[in-house]
Symmetry: C2
Subunit: 287 residues, 2 copies
């Protein structure tokens, strides 16, 4: 049976659908599920993964080495179109842009997300390896705090139910009204349906922990402006560990840096997003 993630990132080529070529767009119909919502809005990382699936279906190389998305307007659950245009196709790497659009109630097409990405093949990379990054030290999953599917103010967070998220107790203090004061979220996670993470799913996973700002006592919506994910390895089956860190909140903007580690202590993804603090508690955007 398909995983929830695979089912909800399925893409259907619009006909006529020919071989990918530089400068020639390929279009895909997709359905944006509400199972990955935060409040009434689909999670940004989920949108990245949808676009990333369509890019992988278009380019000859399977894995997102580096994918950047700029979020343009708040998406709604429901039908959408992903248009992928190859920019350059090389022997080991290929680059493409993607646009995710939806028609609004009066039939106007609105762009939700613009993506620029370079794909390659993670399997069999044979070059030099030297890792000084170290995985986080966490209590065992059973000694961590299971994330609840709601945010301060009562916003329902459906996406949390698609994962088994176990936050390091200090990272979970915000949920009990005791923010740690440190803009960090650490913990374990895996898909709730028992399927293992693949490289594509890391585009989503880097965005699924609660905002680091919650641990500063800030409880407003933190919409993503831009998010870039480097997928660096194929995760082995099992739990992932993730650390999301913010070190520079300035003028109402902040970065969120995520590192995702697998059970083989492999740093499988590094992501960074630029986000904005707001005082609202649901996802309307006022960009």
């Amino acid at each position: 049976m398909a995983s929830a993630f695979d089912a909800d990132t399925a893409v259907t080529p619009r006909l006529p659908h020919g071989a990918a070529a530089v400068g020639r767009p390929a279009e895909y119909d997709v359905g944006i599920s509400d199972r990955w919502n935060v409040g009434s809005r689909p999670n940004g990382g989920y949108l990245l993964a949808l676009a990333g699936r369509a890019i992988g279906a278009t380019l000859p190389h399977p894995d997102p080495f580096s994918l950047t998305g700029h979020f343009l307007s708040p998406p709604d659950p429901g039908p959408a179109v992903v248009e992928v245009t190859p920019v350059r196709v090389g022997r080991s790497l290929a680059t493409a842009t993607a646009r995710v659009t939806q028609d609004d109630a009066d039939g106007r097409t609105r762009e939700r997300l613009r993506v620029l990405a370079t794909y390659g093949e993670l399997a069999g990379l044979a070059g030099h390896t030297a890792v000084t990054a170290v995985p986080p030290v966490l209590p065992a999953p059973e000694d961590c705090v299971r994330a609840a599917p709601s945010f301060p103010g009562g916003t329902r967070v459906a996406i949390v139910e698609q994962f088994d998220i176990r936050l390091d107790p200090p990272s979970a203090g915000w949920a009990a009204g005791r923010p740690s004061g440190e803009a960090v979220m650490r913990g374990w996670l895996r898909f709730a349906d028992g399927h293992d993470a693949d490289p594509l799913s890391l585009l989503l996973i880097g965005d699924v922990f609660p905002p680091t700002a919650f641990n500063l006592g800030l409880t407003g919506w933190v919409p993503t402006i831009e998010m870039t994910v480097h997928v660096r390895g194929i995760p082995v089956p099992g739990w992932l560990r993730m650390v999301v860190t913010t070190r520079n909140v300035s003028g109402g903007y902040l970065e969120e840096d995520a590192e995702i580690w697998d059970e083989a202590d492999q740093l499988v993804a590094q992501s960074r997003q630029l986000a904005r603090l707001t005082s609202t508690t649901d996802g309307g955007s006022s960009r």
Copy 2:
């Protein structure tokens, strides 16, 4: 008198040139100078700044909040065209794509760089500020090592002459055949012509230190695949401090994370690039 940086990032609108509009490209003629070369190839950050200048000339907001470039083919010094297409123009933020192209010897147009960026206005940002990042502790500039305009193997690095770069002595060991073993470059820098850095120039500056891989004893070319810069503040006049760190060399690919600090201890930019280790010592690309 214009700074070298301003002179070499000047953009000339191609006529007819109308007001920017979403989906309507604006084209600019630019000259890629050889003063920012590494070997025979213009530096990647310099290309980002050229594209960034054209985007700023097109959008209503002046400053690159988040700019991503994917490098597609090795540029040559000489004429080029930057085509900027606004994607979304909002009250506080605007998003655009840019393409940098050059005609090769047989008249074929080759794309060098594709950019996706969101611009805003850094002056007057009034939101929440909470910074836990700390600037690097460095010896005084006069106790650091002035970077020489050459790399291992004798490659001339013209860009180094456009700056006064003072590397922390442990970061400079590679130049004397004693790589530190730690994939980090720390130091001071400012423009050699006495002009101060502005927000646009931070797109370039994040890419001007020697590759961190030199301190691992690796001396090959490290071409950038993708680079993302978050400009987070307007630098005050004076020296900048920069730390570039690599923590995950894996399968021949690596990230380089740069933090740029000004004399007011403001973290004015955070950048990250994905690059590839090669064994060649000049900049042909084999992507």
